[in-house]
Structures are given as structure tokens and as C-alpha cells.
């Protein structure tokens, strides 16, 4: 035990319905805590970019190897559903940005509404994804060794299974991130309801927001690459 007393910094609640925030003991100031956590989270997002980057590299690699296959297989995806999902994610990104803004201005009610809208966006996205996946499965357009193509629609192409391997892997891992993001936003809503987040302390809202925007960011690239194969 150190023999000097702790002097933890406390950020007072802005009003009734909100909670104080106690800065972790090893930080000297609230700003130091905020900056440290935020830098850490940006680094984490950088690792996410590189993780997805491997898949994008695989996409470009095989796109170059089998260009006709990729163009033809891309046409089997519904660009309309893809565009719908793009719109949904962009809207949810906007609601999330507004949610973070509401936390910054201590508007608890608005924060809850914007978060709920964002989760709704995630849900719509996953439902659309479900219908897209079922359509592909009906045609036997499954990844890798499960690729069957009973109707022979893509039989003239070289390794059409590769496109669907990449499609399912990329959208699958992206979908996993959507679900994780939605769960995190629900966690934020629980905290927001208890009044944990306000102008003095909104760090978790900010970080979860960043995560959600990253999910959007990745989809911005996935949409043209998979649905509108250039």
C-alpha cells in the first residue's frame, strides 16, 4: 500500500438523474483518462482495419486472378438489397453520431432514442442480410466445398466458388461486427438510462460510436466491391 492517500478525481454529475464519474486512480486528470482510452481505442480500430484488410487483399488478389468470374458472380447478388443495406447503415451511422452528440450535451432522452434507432438499423441490416443469404443458399451458391450450383448457372466460369467464399467470409465477419456493435449500443443504453453518461463523461458512448462507424466504413467498401463488381 502506498502511504499517501488516494486523490481520485471526481467529475460531478451535471444534474439529477446523472451519476458522478470517478477517474481511475492511476490517472491524474479526467482529460488524461479520456485521451488515453481514446488513443487505445483508435489503435484497436487500426487492428480491425488490418484484420479486414487481409480479406480485402484476398478479394483484390482473386479479382485479378479470375476477373470474369468475379464480374459474373457479382451480378448474382441483388445490388438493390445491397444499396438498401448501405442506406440503412449510413442512416444508423448518422443516428449514432447524433447519439454521441446528445451524450456530449447531456441530453439523456435523445441519447436513448438515437441509440435505439441505431440498433433498429442494425436489426434491419441483419434481416436483409438473412434474405440475401437464403437466396444464395437456394441457388447452391455457398462458399468453398459447399458450392453446388445445381442449375449450372455459373458452370461456364473458372472457380465461381472463390467469389462466394470471399463474399460469405467478408460479409459474415462484417455481420458479426454488426451484431457485436448492436450489443455494445444496447449496453450503452443501459448505462445511459442510469445516467452514467453526460457532458463530463461520455467516453464509452464515444468509443462505441467509433466502433459503429467503423462497421459502416467497412461496408462502404464492401458494397461496390461485392454487389457492383467493377
Amino acid at each position: 500500500m502506498s502511504d499517501h492517500a488516494h486523490h481520485s478525481v471526481v467529475i460531478p454529475a451535471p444534474g439529477p438523474g446523472f451519476q458522478d464519474h470517478v477517474v481511475a486512480h492511476h490517472f491524474d486528470t479526467a482529460d488524461q483518462e479520456f485521451d488515453a482510452c481514446k488513443l487505445g481505442f483508435w489503435l484497436f480500430l487500426a487492428t480491425e482495419i488490418l484484420l479486414f484488410g487481409g480479406l480485402f487483399a484476398a478479394y483484390f488478389y482473386f479479382h485479378q486472378m479470375y476477373p470474369e468470374t468475379f464480374v459474373a458472380c457479382g451480378k448474382t447478388l441483388s445490388w438493390k438489397l445491397g444499396a438498401l443495406n448501405t442506406t440503412v447503415l449510413l442512416l444508423s451511422s448518422w443516428t449514432m453520431a447524433m447519439g454521441v452528440r446528445s451524450a456530449q450535451t447531456s441530453e439523456k432522452g435523445k441519447l436513448l432514442v438515437y441509440c435505439a434507432l441505431t440498433v433498429l438499423g442494425a436489426a434491419i441490416f441483419m434481416v436483409v442480410k438473412f434474405f440475401e443469404y437464403s437466396a444464395k443458399i437456394d441457388h447452391g451458391f455457398l462458399p468453398g466445398r459447399f458450392f453446388t450450383d445445381p442449375a449450372g448457372e455459373l458452370a461456364h466460369l473458372e472457380f465461381p466458388n472463390m467469389f462466394f467464399s470471399i463474399y460469405f467470409t467478408m460479409t459474415g465477419i462484417h455481420g458479426l461486427h454488426v451484431l457485436i456493435g448492436a450489443a455494445l449500443i444496447i449496453w450503452i443504453m443501459v448505462g445511459a438510462k442510469r445516467g452514467r453518461f453526460h457532458a463530463g463523461y461520455y467516453l464509452p458512448v464515444d468509443l462505441v460510436g467509433l466502433y459503429w462507424h467503423l462497421v459502416d466504413l467497412i461496408w462502404i467498401f464492401l458494397f461496390p466491391l461485392l454487389y457492383l463488381v467493377p
Binding site: 488524461q32 487500426a46 479479382h63 451511422s93 456530449q104 458494397f223 461496390p224
Partner: protein, 140 residues
């Protein structure tokens, strides 16, 4: 890598107050404008895919996507108002990613140029089977 100057470093580690930069509250109107721009660019993306620009197709699609990504990053993700360190750290991931793209694709696209190797048009002879074709790793 850029590093803060010594005086800033001390501040950076012990900055007390006043560095309001990263607590920037962006205006709701700006967010809405960005949303409109993003939706508009989505329309452009679809429209552009209708035209054949030849080998530039991929480049054009990626350029539009990059503009959208830049908007999301700088405004929605507040990177525009964030500290230099955060900006550098996050953006450096794209830099290093581009190295992965650059070298793997450079390898692939120059492989045929020296008769060193050609891709076998037919898949590998399927005569060879490994002992456990269901291959479940730890799951068998």
C-alpha cells in the same frame, strides 16, 4: 512518425484543462449535411457502375468509396477535431494495409511476365486424397 515537441509532451501527459479540441461538439446540421452527401455518393456509386470505364472501373469505385469513408472518418468519427496522435495512429493502419495490397498484387500481376511460372489451367489432379477427407482438425 511525428512526435510532440518536448514542451507539448509534458502537456500531453499532464494536460490539465483547456485542450477542448477533442471534446468538440459538432453541429447537428453538419451531421445532417454529411448524411445527405453520403446518400448522394451512394447513388453515384451505383450510377458509376452502370458505365464501363474499362480498367479504371475498380479505381473509380474505390475513389468514390474513399470519399465516403473520408467523410465518415473526419466528421462522424470526429477525426477532424481529434488529436494528431490519434489521427496518425488510425490512418497509419491504411498506410500499412496499402503495403500488403501493393506487394501481393505486384507479385501476382508480374508473375506471368517472365515465363517463370504459369498457372495450371486445370485444377490439381484430384487423385490424391488425404487420409481423412472430412478434415475436422480437433473435431474428429
Amino acid at each position: 512518425m511525428s512526435h510532440p515537441s518536448p514542451s507539448h509532451a509534458a502537456h500531453d501527459a499532464h494536460g490539465s484543462h483547456g485542450d477542448a479540441g477533442h471534446h468538440h461538439v459538432a453541429s447537428a446540421g453538419l451531421f445532417f449535411n454529411v448524411l445527405v452527401a453520403l446518400l448522394f455518393l451512394t447513388v453515384i456509386t451505383v450510377a458509376a457502375s452502370r458505365f464501363d470505364f474499362g480498367s479504371a472501373n475498380l479505381l473509380i469505385a474505390m475513389l468514390i468509396a474513399s470519399v465516403k469513408a473520408a467523410l465518415v472518418m473526419s466528421i462522424f468519427m470526429h477525426l477532424k477535431w481529434d488529436t494528431a496522435v490519434n489521427r496518425i495512429m488510425f490512418l497509419s493502419s491504411f498506410l500499412f494495409l496499402s503495403l500488403l495490397f501493393l506487394f501481393t498484387l505486384a507479385d501476382l500481376s508480374t508473375r506471368g511476365m517472365d515465363e517463370q511460372l504459369q498457372r495450371v489451367s486445370a485444377p490439381v489432379a484430384d487423385q490424391w486424397k488425404h487420409p481423412n477427407p472430412s478434415g475436422g482438425g480437433a473435431h474428429h
